[in-house]
């Protein structure tokens, strides 16, 4: 039972999160390691052996799969990190930067799958880009047989990943900037005669990097192990390793689950190596660039290349906007032949059929997202209250270890971890229930909620809290009548982030849901292979619209609640 006097005194929330996350991770590990050694009693394998590994390594096309994963994963994560850094160096403080800052929330709220579908419509041989220049420049009257989409090296996948990852890294950088005295540092550097871009490279990036390091690792893990985007944009056969693992896992031949476990461990090792390489690279660069930092050179080549590095930000906004617009056009199209730039005739048909058929997945998506975000919010506020209380009384703050537990699921390939959990759930007879599905979403929702809410929540003016306690004389009224209403804006905003993270989940729904639950995401991804583009566009738009509506509500609600309170406006 929770102590009713104070959430702050209680270590319940942090301990609960650590215990449950620890157990889940342990289950994921057991459910992967044991089957990879041929031990899975539910399908009658009880004697340890290396045979799953032999089968894994001799599976046709396995090395091509590994190659695709390595090429697309390394290209995507290295370019995303590099471009975010150079873009920040060149653009920070400019008008483009401020525009990008405003566009961040909508950019981040777009689910990966919906973006991948729109991006595919844009770059496919029969897509908008080719149509724009056909037949005028190219002379094509039918789509060229170029392999622009689903290319064998996963480069179109890498490109889409980069576009999705840069806004995430920029968001993390912006929140880290809040903790540094950016403006003062820039002034101090300029007073010593340094150009702005050079101060960024020599001083600010080395100071910012430790704050974004974990997010860089998460980007690496994500790029190596993404499944939904790889199904839509990656090569078909052999596919990326993560996609191959899902195929094995869902194969009617149950013994392939053992091979899937080997694949999971192998992918886990690849991600580990990727993260290790990033860590090593940071140390090596730090060592070799130390003399360059103090060599006195005040001008930077970046100053001259500046216009070039403004492009990534503009490009991301432009491409994402175009991809969304294309989804809208396709969803209303009736007849749209190559190389027409716009459809010849329009129709509402796909919306009417789509809106009817999407009812069930829509409700599942909405309920799961709401429940995961709400539960996540309760756990996060519980933890932060504990942190605030501990800070106040000088007692032990359990939130420091909690943070590492929360971040772990983001550093492990999702498919590896979820497949292992699902096998354990089958063993304990808990598979395929909505509660386990909810939990699998919550694992990925919680870290983002924590990241977003932490800073604002802990900087709440303590004097208001003292007043609230003095006047209300007990904890919960003070919390619910004073503190949370004052923090309504960040609380609702983090709720919207949590919701959008849940909506975007593909692997947890597919694997832990055991095929019993379909969401807008799983439907859109399965329709992406071969369904009618117009029906697909409707689903992708619905998937994209849902989190955006919640974001909009989260922004508008505080304005309505406090329309006559000037002190609550920003």
């Amino acid at each position: 039972m929770l102590p009713l006097t104070s959430l702050g005194k209680s270590g319940f929330f942090p301990v609960f999160i650590m215990a449950s996350f620890g157990l889940t991770l342990l289950a994921g590990l057991l459910g992967t390691v044991l089957p990879s050694l041929d031990y899975l009693p539910v399908i009658g394998h009880t004697r340890f052996s290396w045979s799953p590994w032999q089968e894994f390594l001799s599976y046709p096309g396995i090395f091509s799969s590994i190659r695709v994963t390595l090429i697309s994963g390394i290209t995507a994560s290295a370019s995303a990190v590099g471009l975010s850094v150079f873009w920040a160096c060149c653009a920070h403080g400019s008008r483009t930067w401020r525009l990008f800052e405003k566009a961040l929330s909508p950019l981040l709220s777009i689910p990966h799958a919906a973006f991948a579908i729109g991006f595919g419509f844009l770059i496919a041989p029969s897509g908008w880009l080719v149509r724009m220049v056909s037949p005028g420049i190219t002379g094509f009257s039918s789509p060229p047989d170029w392999i622009l989409l689903n290319d064998p090296y996963g480069l179109s996948l890498a490109a889409a990943l980069v576009i999705k990852e840069i806004p995430f890294l920029v968001m993390v950088m912006i929140s880290a900037m809040g903790q540094l005295d950016m403006e003062k540092t820039l002034l101090a550097g300029r007073a010593l005669g340094y150009k702005k871009e050079q101060i960024w490279l020599k001083i600010l990036i080395p100071r910012l990097y430790p704050h974004i390091r974990l997010s860089v690792f998460a980007v690496i893990a994500y790029s190596f192990s993404v499944v939904d985007m790889a199904l839509i944009l990656g090569p078909g056969s052999p596919p990326a390793l993560a996609v191959q693992i899902l195929k094995w896992f869902n194969d009617p031949d149950l013994s392939l689950k053992l091979v899937a476990a080997c694949g999971s461990l192998f992918l886990f090792a690849l991600v580990g190596a990727g993260i290790g390489a990033a860590f090593l690279m940071e140390k090596i660069l730090g060592f070799f660039l130390a003399p360059w930092v103090v060599n006195g050179r005040r001008r930077s080549i970046l100053t001259r290349l500046k216009p070039l590095f403004l492009l990534p930000g503009l490009g991301i906004m432009g491409i994402t906007g175009a991809a969304t617009l294309l989804l809208v056009i396709w969803s209303f199209a009736r007849q749209w032949q190559f190389p027409e730039v716009l459809p010849a005739s329009w129709s509402l048909k796909f919306w009417t059929t789509g809106l009817v058929s999407c009812f069930y997945p829509f409700v599942t998506t909405l309920l799961t997202g709401m429940a995961a975000a709400l539960l996540g919010l309760v756990l996060t506020i519980g933890c932060l209250e504990h942190g605030a209380g501990a800070k106040r009384k000088g007692t032990r703050n359990l939130n420091t270890p909690v943070f590492y537990f929360l971040y772990l699921p983001l550093l492990v390939p999702q498919i590896s971890f979820m497949a292992g959990i699902q096998l354990v759930l089958v063993v304990v007879n808990l598979d395929g229930s909505w509660i386990t599905l909810l939990w699998s979403h919550l694992i990925f929702v919680l870290p983002y909620l924590f990241m977003v809410l932490q800073t604002t929540y802990l900087s709440y003016d303590q004097r208001f809290w003292d007043q609230a306690l003095l006047l209300k004389r007990s904890y919960f009224p003070a919390l619910f009548r004073i503190k949370l209403p004052m923090l309504v804006r960040p609380v609702l905003f983090s709720f919207a982030i949590g919701f959008s993270v849940s909506v975007a989940q593909y692997i947890p729904t597919m694997v832990v849901g055991a095929g019993r639950f379909s969401t807008l995401t799983t439907e859109a991804v399965s329709m992406a292979s071969g369904s009618d583009r117009r029906a697909l566009a409707v689903y992708a738009l619905l998937q994209q619209a849902l989190p955006m509506i919640i974001y909009a509500l989260a922004l508008i609600t505080p304005k309505i609640l406090y329309y006559n309170r000037k002190g609550m406006q920003v």
């Binding site: 003062k184 007073a191 001083i203």
Partner: protein
């Protein structure tokens, strides 16, 4: 070798902050801008340093050693600034913080020697590898000044540089800073609200409301 302000005039939405300022600061001289907070003295300083907020409009001329610098970007003015805070880069050791200020054309071995000598002159011999946060307030203030001067600025601006130090330290650091400016023989402009900060015999400018 002097800093000249000619008819310097700052307006915000058509309203003057103070009467036009005419001032010539000779090498080695420390002029002091005095006045209560809000009188525009910090704004005047930021106009000279090149960091004036664009809500203000500036007319008049600023010259350093005869070269007009009125519209140059801050980093091209060759003017050093001593801030209220020490602003030492917390992730670099003291030696690197100082070497960062040295000009590019100074070769490697000489760089180390210059940093070493600078530290020695401030009674901080052998502090190269020290973490800035392990230094006392007075030591940080001295390193901060050393860093500004190692960039060989043509003039030095000081924005309430002593206001964060406690009373006993203030006098010591003041003497240190003023003697360094005299040694370097560069013009300096000090902004303060504390009459005790003014160097003995230096010129004091009170900004009049226009």
């Amino acid at each position: 070798m002097c800093l000249e302000l000619e008819n310097l005039h700052i307006q915000k939405q058509g309203t003057s902050l103070f009467d036009p300022v005419n001032l010539v600061i000779a090498p080695g001289e420390i002029a002091t801008l005095m006045g209560p907070s809000g009188c525009g003295k910090s704004t005047l300083l930021s106009a000279v340093s090149g960091s004036l907020d664009p809500v203000f409009t500036l007319t008049g001329k600023i010259r350093l050693n005869g070269r007009e610098i009125t519209s140059l970007p801050m980093e091209d003015r060759n003017i050093g600034i001593l801030f209220q805070e020490d602003l030492l880069f917390p992730h670099m050791d003291i030696g690197s913080n100082l070497a960062f200020a040295l000009r590019e054309n100074i070769p490697g071995p000489e760089r180390r020697a210059l940093v070493g000598r600078a530290l020695e002159s401030a009674g901080l011999e052998g502090f190269e590898k020290r973490d800035p946060s392990s230094l006392s307030g007075g030591q940080k203030a001295r390193v901060s000044l050393l860093r500004s001067l190692l960039a060989r600025p043509g003039a030095l601006l000081m924005d309430e540089p002593f206001s964060r130090l406690d009373q006993t330290l203030k006098a010591v650091i003041r003497t240190f800073v003023f003697s360094r400016i005299e040694e370097m023989n560069i013009p300096a402009l000090l902004v303060t609200h504390d009459p005790a900060d003014c160097p003995g015999g230096g010129r004091i400018i009170n900004l009049d409301k226009g």
